[in-house]
Symmetry: C2
Amino acid sequence: MPITANNPNRKTWIKTPTNTDFPIQNIPFGVFLTRDDVITIGTRIGDTAIDLGALHQLGYFDEIPLTDDIFLQDSLNDFISDGKKTWRLVRNRIAEIFDTENDTLKTNKEHCKIVLFTLDEIEMQLPVTVGDYTDFYSSIEHATNVGTMFRDPDNALLPNWLHIPVGYHGRSSSIIPSGIPVHRPQGQKLINGTDKPIFGPSRLVDFELEMAFITTDANHLGEPIPIDEAEDYIFGLVLFNDWSARDIQKWEYVPLGPFLAKNFASSISPWIVTLDALEPYRVAGPKPLKEQLPYLQYKGDKSFDINLEVAIQPEKAKETIVSKSNFKHMYWNMSQQLAHHTINGCPVNSGDMMGSGTISGPTPDSYGSMLELSWRGEKPVPLKDGGSRKFIEDNDTVIMRGHCEKGGVRIGFGEVSTKLLPVFKK
Amino acid sequence: MPITANNPNRKTWIKTPTNTDFPIQNIPFGVFLTRDDVITIGTRIGDTAIDLGALHQLGYFDEIPLTDDIFLQDSLNDFISDGKKTWRLVRNRIAEIFDTENDTLKTNKEHCKIVLFTLDEIEMQLPVTVGDYTDFYSSIEHATNVGTMFRDPDNALLPNWLHIPVGYHGRSSSIIPSGIPVHRPQGQKLINGTDKPIFGPSRLVDFELEMAFITTDANHLGEPIPIDEAEDYIFGLVLFNDWSARDIQKWEYVPLGPFLAKNFASSISPWIVTLDALEPYRVAGPKPLKEQLPYLQYKGDKSFDINLEVAIQPEKAKETIVSKSNFKHMYWNMSQQLAHHTINGCPVNSGDMMGSGTISGPTPDSYGSMLELSWRGEKPVPLKDGGSRKFIEDNDTVIMRGHCEKGGVRIGFGEVSTKLLPVFKK
């Protein structure tokens, strides 16, 4: 089925700012609370939010086989379970409804009043109930930087790294949407040269610039997903800030991996941009440096050219962009990640989230964490207001943005913006 | 509120086999499919399953504030969200209904027909929808054995182990109830002396004898749970078999921990035995070998004396008990685990599951995994039928059982029994 929603020449009757992340070619999915305190599934064109629950009740999706309440839910999980064919039908239909050539809704003032919202009339929620969250470690630049700093510059990559899309399980319960502030975590830390840990606030709170993809129900217990089918089970992507406390991490992570250093919060952008919308931005991935096992070998372009940036905004000051990276730098792509995750028969469900791992680029201004940007704190990162940062300070806001651009069409993710509050006090 | 359900002198009008795990003092909670293909929440006395959904509809819980459909659900999550006071009221009331002194239900043949089932009329389901699953590593004997085998016998415990109840995140989607078979997983393995991994079936499939506790909604993002409140948020426990593929684990687990080696399956016993029911079996835990940070220090007895055993049953042969251990061996108790898990503000929700880690005892016949019992395969474990096992073979069934016993009352968990099938073929 053609993705007519992606037609680059289509224009919409909704007023859209120039250079918006959300032209009519995007049509992302999210969940929001409306001015009437109703929770609904919606989409966005320009700065207009669209209530898909209301649109469906008014009959605008009558030709698509959908249950009546599919959009009147507090998560996208059931819609995602409907599968790729349905997602495509719905996106194509939304593009039609808002096309300049179509004045059915446009001229129905009453319907418009029910269906359309300005952004300040809504409150974005978590778009899915995350069943399981997995974080990969798929940027070779990030893995090399970390290995250089903490192990051996001559053997920065561990022996398994070029063979396995290394990943580990994270915590679903602390995944939060953009806008929800996070408290500086407390925990155990070992001061260098001592052998007894102390307790207190983390002094090395960091962001990790990541993207995460969201899956549909993919397989049953025991069944692997072949790599050439993996993309059929990917609904879309969000920006992902994998908050990290480096001092807690260093003391706790051997031998079972990071735990409290990560599970205090992970922030995501609230609009899921579909894999279909990203179709025009496919690019070839990096050439494998070592031969990969057959279950990880793929055909065609499985990487995506998505520009990413991170800004730090101290309280009452202007933001400084501290990193510019790109999703295409990932050594292991999403198809490889999903094929690997299921090769042992691990079941993947609707609403599961899989993070890329920190997306560092090849140059020092493209590193995806303060750990790398400030090189363990040795090179403080200058800010516009005159200060500098080794790590994130109380009341700083960290903002991540991402967009693709080609042939005059820009598809973006909006942003994930999160303020770091001081330690929680009862 | 007193836990009258625990009265050791109470007798029931339900016929119960001698030495049952489920006397009227137990009253565990589970979810089952009835002979009429209805899913309901229930309990069990002796070999009789009791439909709590039907019992509630018939008015037997009218004096307890419960929503009408609280037991007519496919998981216990909402009931668990109701909190400890409600769990206690319901258990106390169930004890009353089935007390020999009470003939209201007993003499109502019609009600009995609706409410009571024999075990072969029902099919046990997963008792909760697991949001997040965490696995700890809290047995000092297990951690010492693993450290001795794979690192250094003189420094078997890692430096953080006596300070931190080490834990990591596991996969919720592959948690399955007793009775569901598991396929031998495939994956990458590195043959000793080579530097290129090969792909194939795991040759070292193992069980891990664990218990897991299930929580209620405990805290909000940012808020730690104080250790002396931790038990208020623990609903109950199950037996937990944390299936492991040792060859896959060895190649993948540095630096981010086990992933595909574990997430192909974890099996649980289907009846959740409440923490209330275990109250009479509290015992003091092991003395700390090093001083613990204040947030991990507790008062009173927080360990529980639960006898555990593991049996291997080859196809068409008798089972052999290969290990006898006890939950009281855990160096870190559940209160410490939950206080640690949330000290950074990580939110814990209803239905979350936390595994103890392999529960090995001090003697070689009390080790909780084949890795330890066969000492990496060096000492095959003899079976009754004449064979022996280094690890688990295709078509073997692994059975774990657990019970407490004191003053003539036995409270048990039933069993978790899982057959290992050959590699999945499409």
